[in-house]
């Protein structure tokens, strides 16, 4: 149990997927222009990431491993995630209209979000069981949401700041990300995690 808690904290703060591992940067810079959209994206990622972690874990351990098809991992996982996202979108549209209105437009974007695929690969590479995999996925998703929301509130202020024209847009966003990343480095060593 202690081990599982550490996996969660490590994924959430210490090895933050965006700032320390550099995965999922495209949506990070693309969607973090306003706090509202960032929140929507963050919630959608937590949701899909956890579902994807379950399903790919089951597929890997029920089909790929027993039938010696591990080399199909990359192709299977990316197709599973793409169809999962489609399916979730249709399901929410029909059954949970409010949730769909909140997350709907972010769902198609998630198919190309490398953070989801990375979590499913890391689950397998680290030999996590289903519980550890779930905690890892939730922790990573929460870390993604936390950082994207912090960063969106920073960028809303950057828009109004007087900045050298050469640095407007992406460069100043990168510099801000560098500083936030430096702050997150402060978490390393927390509970003996690295």
């Amino acid at each position: 149990m202690k081990n599982s808690v550490l996996i969660f904290l490590s994924a959430f703060l210490v090895n933050n997927i965006i700032l320390i591992r550099f995965i999922g940067l495209c949506p990070f810079f693309g969607v973090s222009t306003a706090v509202k959209t960032a929140t929507g994206m963050g919630m959608a990622v937590i949701f899909v990431m956890t579902l994807a972690a379950w399903i790919t874990w089951l597929i890997f351990h029920v089909f790929l491993l027993p039938f010696n098809l591990v080399f199909l991992r990359t192709a299977t996982f990316i197709l599973t995630i793409a169809s999962l996202v489609q399916f979730v979108e249709m399901f929410l549209k029909k059954s949970y209209r409010t949730l769909y209105n909140a997350l709907g437009i972010y769902l198609p974007l998630i198919t190309t979000n490398c953070a989801i695929l990375a979590v499913t690969f890391l689950n397998i590479d680290n030999n996590y069981n289903l519980l550890q995999g779930t905690l890892f996925a939730i922790g990573t998703g929460l870390g993604f949401a936390l950082v994207i929301i912090i960063f969106a509130s920073l960028r809303e202020r950057l828009d109004m700041a007087p900045i050298n024209p050469s640095l407007k847009g992406y460069p100043i966003a990168f510099i801000a990300a560098s500083l936030v990343s430096l702050a997150f480095l402060g978490f390393s060593g927390l509970f003996g995690l690295s």
């Binding site: 550099f22 995965i23 940067l25 192709a75 490398c114 695929l117 590479d125 992406y170 460069p171 990343s181």
Partner: protein, 199 residues
């Protein structure tokens, strides 16, 4: 568009990383040293090159509705090839790059070129485009890797070049994650500055 232009466009004018700003994850994550950067650049270029060729070959017989899944299958086939090749022939490099090798499959540059170029153009043009974009991508990775390795370790391809005194007290910040963000911020800022002058 001339063949020459198709090829060189990806290297400088429409450089996928520094001008279009896609495929950023490996650019920041795998540029701690020049060797890692070069390995990642070559692996990605290989996938881009061959998937561009195959996709432009089959472009006329793939129905429009299912093209994205078809492209993804083709790309992931080449990614799996690279993955297994690297595991056998470059195990050290594979250990450092880790999850970023299978993640080439979601690199936006590759699917982006398939969508924007290879599915509409001839095999020769797509080959040149894949080659040019691959070189442009690798170039940026190597430049980032060189800056970070020289400042962070005082070495270039593991050869010490900045002297012993520097190697004892290197700018460790550069090889940490925040350093990667700072280096690309400065590169992009410089490009903005100079491209404005040209215009």
């Amino acid at each position: 568009m001339s063949k020459r232009e198709t090829f060189f466009r990806g290297v400088i004018k429409e450089n996928p990383v520094l001008i279009i700003m896609i495929g950023l994850c490996p650019v920041l994550a795998t540029t701690g040293t020049v060797r890692d950067a070069l390995g990642m650049g070559i692996a990605t270029s290989f996938v881009l090159f061959f998937s561009n060729i195959i996709i432009s070959m089959i472009r006329k017989c793939v129905p429009n509705e299912v093209r994205i899944p078809v492209f993804i299958i083709i790309i992931s086939t080449f990614v799996t090839i690279v993955d297994y090749f690297m595991q056998v022939f470059q195990p050290d490099l594979y250990r450092v790059l880790g999850v970023f090798v299978p993640l080439i499959v979601v690199n936006c540059i590759i699917l982006g070129r398939a969508e924007a170029f290879a599915q509409k153009n001839s095999v020769i043009d797509s080959t040149l485009d894949g080659l040019g974009m691959g070189i442009g991508f690798t170039l940026v990775l190597v430049v980032m890797g060189a800056i970070r390795e020289i400042l962070g370790h005082g070495t270039f391809l593991s050869h010490p070049i900045l002297g012993k005194g520097f190697a004892e007290f290197p700018v460790t910040f550069m090889i940490l994650p925040p350093g990667a963000f700072l280096v690309i911020a400065i590169l992009k800022g410089l490009i903005n500055r100079f491209s404005k002058k040209e215009l």
